[in-house]
């Protein structure tokens, strides 16, 4: 048992729902208490497409056998078949409460005329988390549809394995990579999972290679395709100009393209689109000198960003962490190429403490790191999922366009720091008040400090005393 102030990941059922909802033609029957079914609400408000989430709740409740109200899984399944005639795959996901109740996974009722595939997961377990759930669900969906595979396409194509729905900027990432592949003359066979059709899952074997953009979710599905169908994969994170170039060259090689023509396209893109190298050369070296950055997030983003910032920009990466503790070893292996401060931690408070101890000048993280950035008064970029903001215009972080977005963000953040004089003018803190602040969890300290300073300003006091601080907290 752990006591925490926040979590980075949802439960495994949430991950399954994210993967399943990404693929068109997949409908999920979610077996859960009515109070656990929050995915549709999040889906509606984050995606803002106007579609209802492709999820039907099968409420877990006690009711008499002759009741026709929803709650009986097999009856609910038949209902879904009737109401969603175009669904090709029906996934049954079970919530934590459902798993704990010890229910059996249901089987598909005979319909006679039309039989969509029913996918249930045997590995569901209560302690598993969102990312693992999403990854395993994707593998199972690819496996189910893997029978009777079509042959390789006559011209080079690749599958993109990227982030699932509800990842910030996911659509934009796929689009940018597809644009780059198009430039070097490779067609995208399927985007998986976001943007795929259930039928696309049958056609995955047409591809010459799998380009793994988001390892967290695509890892085991691409490994399966590699082992069973001999489709090689490229795993370099396509973040920053160097990573993107390396991945494009690797894909080009697997697709037997002329390396010189690939390189020409890369140079053209470096001249036109990719501004991160420009930024690194144009900005005076002093901007980056002794500038320390702490990065925290999932797997692909902190590694890709860490590499780009350390090598391409020349910032010192003092801490680089992941909340995906099950990928700890892999993460360390990659992170050690650019930082000494690699760590894996899934308690926001411990993460805040790690970041605080590293004394960075810039923090890149999830929305949970905003508090520690506030308390250290350093610029903050929420670039790693989960993030709280949901812009209408999605911007990529991957590919060459993504490197330009990154250059803009860095420019803004590092300049902001220069403009701001050290220590906000006006408000001082007494020693006893500082002692009190030290007692606040570091995750929440920034907010507490700000509230206390606001309170002091309200009262016209030039300094924050212990009393003012305590008042502001009550």
């Amino acid at each position: 048992m752990r006591l925490v102030h926040g979590v980075y990941e949802g439960p495994q059922s949430y991950g399954i729902l994210r993967t399943a909802a990404s693929i068109r033609g997949v409908h999920t029957v979610f077996r859960a208490l009515p109070g656990e079914a929050y995915f549709p609400t999040l889906y509606g408000s984050r995606e803002r497409t106007g579609e209802l989430a492709p999820v039907t709740l099968s409420p877990l409740r006690e009711q008499p056998d002759d009741s026709m109200a929803p709650g009986n899984v097999s009856r609910d399944l038949s209902g879904v078949l009737r109401r969603h005639p175009r669904a090709e795959i029906i996934v049954v996901a079970r919530s934590e409460a459902s798993l704990l109740s010890g229910e059996e996974a249901p089987s598909l009722p005979e319909t006679g005329t039309r039989n969509p595939e029913l996918v249930t997961f045997s590995w569901e377990a209560v302690g598993r988390k969102e990312t693992e759930g999403a990854e395993l669900a994707l593998e199972d969906l690819v496996r189910v549809r893997g029978q009777d595979p079509p042959d390789r396409s006559p011209y080079p194509t690749v599958n993109l394995f990227g982030p699932p729905v509800l990842s910030p900027g996911a659509e934009a990432e796929y689009a940018e990579i597809e644009r780059l592949l198009d430039l070097i003359g490779i067609e995208v066979n399927a985007r998986v999972p976001l943007g795929a059709d259930a039928r696309d899952l049958r056609r995955l074997t047409r591809a010459w290679a799998n380009l793994l953009l988001y390892r967290e979710v695509g890892e085991s599905a691409t490994l399966y395709l590699q082992d069973e169908h001999g489709i090689p994969r490229v795993t370099t994170p396509m973040i920053g100009a160097a990573g993107t170039g390396a991945a494009l060259r690797a894909v080009g090689q697997l697709c037997q393209l002329d390396p010189r023509s690939v390189q020409r396209t890369i140079w053209a893109e470096l001249a036109r689109t990719a501004k991160l190298p420009w930024y690194a050369r144009l900005e005076p070296p002093e901007t980056f000198e002794n500038r320390k950055v702490a990065i925290f997030g999932d797997f692909t983003y902190p590694l890709g960003l860490g590499y780009a910032l350390a090598r391409e920009v020349g910032l010192e990466v003092v801490a680089c962490g992941t909340y995906l503790t099950h990928l700890e070893r892999d993460f360390f292996f990659h992170a050690h190429s650019f930082t000494e401060g690699a760590f894996a931690e899934d308690d926001p408070e411990a993460v805040a403490a790690r970041i605080e101890a590293a004394k960075p000048d810039l923090i890149i993280g999830t929305h949970l790191e905003e508090g520690v950035a506030e308390s250290l008064e350093v610029p903050f970029l929420p670039l790693c999922p989960p993030t709280a903001d949901r812009p209408f215009v999605e911007r990529p972080l991957m590919g060459y366009a993504g490197s330009t977005v990154l250059a803009d963000l860095l420019d803004g953040a590092l300049r902001e720091k220069k403009r701001k004089p050290s220590g906000e003018a006006g408000i001082r803190w007494t020693d006893s008040a500082l002692q009190e602040v030290a007692g606040v969890p570091s995750l929440l300290r920034g907010r507490a400090r700000r509230l206390a300073e606001d309170r002091a300003r309200e009262q016209g006091s030039g300094e924050v005393t212990r009393e003012i601080f305590l008042e502001s907290r009550s």
Partner: protein, 442 residues
């Protein structure tokens, strides 16, 4: 009025979304949510996504998650000691609410025991709240947590008797006697004024205070409200207390108050003009301070004339989410709007008897509506305004309907004559804005 049971799956915001709001409302309480990763993730991510009015729990020091490990169930008493530790690191904590749902129970945590143990160790009240405890009537409302928390707070109210020992004023004795003998509405003796406790008003304490002022004006002694700003402010509640329920979702809490011997006034909810008038009149009658609200109600209606003209004939559809829809629909129908359907994910007919009796003849109530069916009905009927859950709001907006979430109404403060004005103003401004946007040629 017809009541139809559709036995579908309504779209309801999970009750746990309110944890952040509750922690902020109670002020001096630490809320410990015990369960799996799912509960913590829900509490943290849902509010910000669904409505800007909801307070996110993510950065609130007064909300802590106890995430249980299914492989390694905690030994008995360990949750209590963790609660003790986290309270030790905080100040101004006078109450701990242990929110433990079915998953905690399934993982072998006896939350009631842990709460008792923690309470003994801390010498603070620790109350267990189960947001999923089954109701007598099946169904889930998004405001269920509120109901459970108010029930838990009622347990913490001092009994009437102890405060009688302190205050020795003569009328109080009569009040106690009245409480023992007459249950509720028998004609009280002269000068026999009984204290009134208001129950509810969690989302909009301001409006609840306004209603308390309204009651005081009618000559009623308002002893306090549950929930109060702090544990110390909880009013005495027991035999001889008159409990006035402000929210239609507080059936469990009302039952808890009744179990303590308090008289729960059965009347309309103080929503809208007639609702407030009946509420004030019945509550003051039960408290022994007879008053007539007829004049006040008439003038309130007159003051709302201009606003009523703006919504007259507008067709409104309530999809059903919080349970506040029934009184809202009653008021809006009285004010001249056409209510097409009132969705009720759970309808406690006995508790809401007064409301249902006053509901106009043209209003249909649909119990546990199916949200996909509702979306189709909305498409067919094309109402002027849909009041629905945050989950339905976006799909309906995309289909070209004008939507407000029920939460917006609840947070705006529904109570009293002022609340009636606020409801109509909210509607009128929503409609006005939609008209301005519609008049653009895009």
């Amino acid at each position: 009025m017809t009541i139809l049971n559709e036995s579908g799956i309504p779209d309801v915001l999970p009750p746990l979304h309110a944890v952040g709001n509750l922690a902020r409302r109670l002020g001096d309480a630490l809320v410990v949510v015990a369960g799996t990763q799912a509960e913590a993730h829900l509490v943290q991510s849902l509010p910000a996504a669904s409505s800007p009015n909801l307070y996110p729990a993510g950065h609130d020091p007064h909300v802590v998650f106890a995430i249980l490990d299914p492989e390694d169930p905690p030994p008995q008493g360990s949750l209590a000691s963790r609660i003790v530790e986290s309270v030790a690191g905080m100040r101004n904590v006078n109450l701990v609410l242990l929110v433990a749902a079915r998953t905690a129970e399934a993982l072998g945590v006896d939350a009631a025991f842990e709460a008792r143990l923690a309470s003994r160790k801390l010498d603070l009240p620790v109350q267990m709240v189960d947001p999923e405890a089954p109701h007598e009537i099946p169904g889930t409302l998004s405001t269920d947590l509120d109901d459970r928390v108010v029930s838990a707070l009622i347990e913490l109210c001092p009994k009437r008797r102890t405060s009688d020992l302190v205050e020795t004023s003569a009328p109080k004795r009569g009040g106690l006697l009245g409480g023992l003998l007459g249950l509720g509405r028998d004609t009280p003796e002269q000068g026999d004024s009984r204290p009134v406790v208001l129950m509810g008003g969690t989302p909009s304490p301001e409006a609840a205070r306004g209603l308390a002022a309204e009651l005081s004006r009618a000559g009623v002694e308002v002893a306090g409200a549950v929930p109060a700003d702090g544990v110390a402010d909880l009013p005495p509640l027991g035999e001889g207390t008159v409990v006035a329920v402000m929210d239609p979702n507080l059936a469990t809490a009302a039952a808890a108050a009744e179990r303590r011997g308090a008289t729960v006034v059965k009347t309309l909810m103080p929503t809208g003009v007639d609702g407030t008038a009946r509420f004030v009149q019945d509550v003051s009658e039960a408290a022994g301070a007879g008053t007539s609200e007829v004049v006040r109600a008439r003038s309130a209606w007159e003051e709302l004339g201009a606003l009523r003209n703006r919504i007259r004939g507008k067709r409104i559809f309530f999809a059903g989410d919080t349970g506040f829809e029934v009184p809202l629909a009653r008021f809006l129908a009285d004010a001249g709007a056409v209510v097409l359907e009132v969705g009720a994910p759970r309808l406690d007919r006995r508790f809401l008897a007064a409301e249902l009796q006053t509901l106009g003849p043209d209003v249909d109530v649909v119990v546990s509506p199916d949200h996909r069916g509702q979306a189709n009905r909305i498409d067919e009927a094309r109402p002027d305004l849909v009041v629905c859950s945050p989950g339905l709001r976006l799909p309906l907006v995309a289909r070209g309907h004008l939507c407000r979430s029920t939460q917006d109404f609840v947070q705006a403060g529904l109570y009293g004559y002022g609340g009636a004005r606020r409801i109509l103003e909210l509607l009128a401004s929503t409609l006005r804005r939609a008209e301005t946007l519609d008049s653009l040629s895009l």
